[in-house]
Every structure is written in structure tokens, then in C-alpha cells.
């Protein structure tokens, strides 16, 4: 039995139905807190510690209630700077039959034991820092060419991967906009100019 009680994950943002962070529709979690500080990182708001503390039990309950998803994606922030919570989340989610896609800015050679366990139990992992000089928006699921895709469990195959540029734009009920994925600079600029009220 998996022990999930009393473990808390610090979260910056969640999206229930995204189609661009892995195969199929996915529940996406941006963890809060990252000290890697990659130059040109687009998610700087998730660097500082803090965010919302969510018990893993509550999080998995919430994920279970979402219909029609193939799995979850964990990004950040840096999920492996909360490796214990991330590992428990991965184990529990895998036990429900959903798949797990994990993003980390660490290289495998930097992993400790818990980080390695997170890697080994995830179905797809992207590893490596975001390197601004190697930014490439035509890659699927990665931001720069140095980042590497792995399929540790064999549930997916890299052969199925078609490189393509993906962007997701959410228009909320009040007309405010959220932008996800790997937009080119013009789209990014345009969205940033949409002052959110």
C-alpha cells in the first residue's frame, strides 16, 4: 500500500485538461520553487518557494475526479526539488492506471536516489536545463535542443514522437487569456500585451 498521507506538494498552478504536455489530455501541475534559474526561463513566477501547499491525498482525489484524461504531467518550478512529494504523487497516480510525464531541469547524472526513483517510475521524462541559446520551438514537448526525452517504463515509445510546435491558448469566461506550450516570440508578445484585468 502506498503511503500518501501527510505529504504536501507546493504548487504554483494547475490545469485540468491540457493537450500539449504529453500524449492525450492531461492534468498538468506546475510545482512551485526552483533554484536552477535557467536563463530565459518562461516560468520565473514558479522560482520562489511558496505557492499553495496541497496534500498529495487531496491532489490525487482531485485528479481522480477529472474525466477523460490519459495521465498527468508534472513540471514547474522544479518537481525534483520536492522529490519525496513528487515520488508519492507518481506512485499513486500510476496505481490508478494513468500515465505520468515528468519534466526536470536536472541531468540524470545529478539525480539522488529519490530523484532516480521519480525518473524510473515515470512514463515519459524530459531532462536537462532550458538553454536559451538552443531554444527551438519546433521540438515537441521540449524548449531547447539539449533537453532529452526518455521513456523509462516502455509504456510509450520515442518512435511515436513526431516533432512539432505546439501552443495552447485558453480563453476564460471573462476574456482573459492563458498561454501554454512553446509559442514563438510574436505570439508570446501579443498575449503579453493583452492586459489582464
Amino acid at each position: 500500500m502506498i503511503e500518501v498521507e501527510s505529504t504536501v506538494m507546493w504548487i504554483g498552478h494547475r490545469s485540468e485538461h491540457s493537450a500539449i504536455y504529453g500524449p492525450g489530455l492531461r492534468y498538468v501541475i506546475w510545482t512551485q520553487g526552483c533554484t536552477l534559474a535557467c536563463g530565459g526561463c518562461w516560468n520565473k513566477q514558479y522560482w520562489p518557494k511558496g505557492g499553495t501547499p496541497v496534500a498529495i491525498t487531496d491532489l490525487v482525489e482531485e485528479i481522480r475526479r477529472v474525466k477523460g484524461i490519459e495521465g498527468i504531467t508534472i513540471l514547474g518550478g522544479e518537481p525534483l526539488q520536492q522529490a519525496n512529494a513528487t515520488l508519492k504523487l507518481i506512485q499513486f497516480v500510476k496505481a490508478t492506471g494513468l500515465t505520468v510525464f515528468l519534466y526536470t531541469g536536472y541531468e540524470p547524472k545529478e539525480f539522488d536516489e529519490t530523484m532516480q526513483a521519480c525518473f524510473d517510475s515515470s512514463d515519459i521524462v524530459v531532462t536537462g536545463r532550458y538553454v536559451e541559446s538552443q531554444r527551438n520551438v519546433s521540438l515537441r514537448w521540449r524548449g531547447s535542443t539539449n533537453q532529452v526525452l526518455h521513456c523509462p517504463t516502455g509504456r510509450y515509445s520515442l518512435l511515436e514522437l513526431n516533432e512539432q510546435n505546439e501552443v495552447e491558448i485558453v480563453v476564460n469566461e471573462d476574456g482573459t487569456i492563458e498561454l501554454y506550450g512553446y509559442p514563438d516570440s510574436e505570439i508570446r508578445q501579443w498575449i503579453e500585451n493583452q492586459t489582464v484585468t
Binding site: 485540468e16 512539432q164 485558453v170 501579443w190
Partner: protein
């Protein structure tokens, strides 16, 4: 030598909040006649004496709120503030203008304070709406059918001012998104997630 301009924006999800915010910031604007009528009608609801007078004031207020559609709001407005007149143009669900950077920090500060007051007034209007709903719930057995109906009309009117402005903004934004993505060679899939519109754009 080049001149740098900054863009300043005024939110208009609820134009009544914008009206209140401009006034509170010490400014004036060329508000359309319906805004003046709404100001007067709202005043009447606050000062009405007796049930019939209040019903009549509420009905008048509600009718004006329902008439306040995005089409009744001008595309261009002039705001007088800090001794200057700025012309704003309605675009992407907000009023925008450009002004020279650096030389008018007081002016930009005043515009920013309008935006802050706007947020405060939005909360105020939401509270007012919730209070009206609560009053209706608590007193529905004590009020006459006519009184209940007039309160319901006010609630619907307040909700419709927000919803119609939101819808206009959503329409503008989605049209622009679809055009921009198509022009950049993306294949676009549109789906609804609850009340949200989600565009998944792929470029191979």
C-alpha cells in the same frame, strides 16, 4: 532620435466600474447619456421612500442596466485627468492609448490609479449583487410579488452588464487568436472545457 511611447489601458469589463473609478480619481470623461441615466437611477434606488417608490426605482434602474450593452459604449472616449485630455480607443476588451514615456509620470500614475479603483469597484459591485441576492433570499416571504420581481430585475440587470461585456471581449479575443494562429501556419483545434475555450495549435 526616436520617441518612446508607452501603452496605457483602462479595463471595461464593467463600464459602470470604469465610470466610478474615473470620478474617484478626480477625472471626468465623455460618458454616454445612458451612464448619466444609470447614475441618476441608482441614486433614486438609494433614496426611494416607501415600497411603491422603491419598486419603481428598481425597475427603472434594472431596465437601464439591461439596455447597457457593449454597443451602447462608444469605441472612443476622452478622459480628462491631471489637466490633460487623453483619447482612448476600445480594443480587445479594454480602452487603450499611447502616451510619451518619461515625461508624464503623473499622468500615467493617475491612469494606473483608475485601474486600481476599477478593481475595487468591481469587488464593490459584486458585493452589492450578492447583497441583493441575499436580501431577496431572506425576505422573499415578506415581500410582495412586485417587490420580488423588481429585485430580481436589478440582479439580472447587474449580471447582464458583466456578462455582455465579457462576451464581447471573448468574441474579440477569439477572433484575433484564430486569425493570428492561422496566419502563422498553425492547425487549430478548438474545444470547450466548461466555460473556457481552449485552442490547441500545432505546426509541423
Amino acid at each position: 532620435m526616436s520617441t518612446v511611447y508607452v501603452q496605457v489601458n483602462l479595463p471595461i469589463t464593467n463600464v459602470l466600474c470604469l465610470d466610478m473609478a474615473i470620478q474617484e480619481a478626480g477625472g471626468t470623461w465623455n460618458a454616454p447619456e445612458i451612464i448619466h441615466e444609470i447614475r441618476r437611477a441608482k441614486m433614486k434606488t438609494a433614496t426611494a421612500q416607501g415600497a411603491q417608490s422603491l419598486i419603481s426605482a428598481n425597475n427603472e434602474y434594472a431596465e437601464l442596466l439591461r439596455a447597457l450593452s457593449p454597443e451602447t459604449i462608444p469605441r472612443t472616449i476622452c478622459v480628462n485627468i491631471e489637466g490633460r485630455t487623453l483619447t482612448f480607443i476600445k480594443n480587445r476588451g479594454q480602452y487603450s492609448t499611447r502616451t510619451r514615456n518619461g515625461t508624464q509620470s503623473g499622468l500615467i500614475g493617475a491612469i494606473q490609479s483608475i485601474s486600481k479603483l476599477y478593481d475595487k469597484n468591481m469587488r464593490l459591485i459584486e458585493n452589492e449583487l450578492n447583497k441583493t441576492i441575499q436580501t431577496l433570499e431572506e425576505q422573499k416571504d415578506l415581500l410582495s410579488a412586485e417587490q420580488v420581481q423588481s429585485l430580481r430585475s436589478v440582479i439580472e440587470g447587474q449580471q447582464s452588464t458583466i456578462q455582455s461585456a465579457n462576451q464581447e471581449r471573448v468574441d474579440e479575443v477569439t477572433k484575433e487568436i484564430e486569425e493570428k494562429l492561422a496566419a502563422r501556419g498553425f492547425e487549430v483545434r478548438r474545444r470547450m472545457v466548461g466555460k473556457k475555450i481552449v485552442y490547441q495549435a500545432v505546426r509541423r
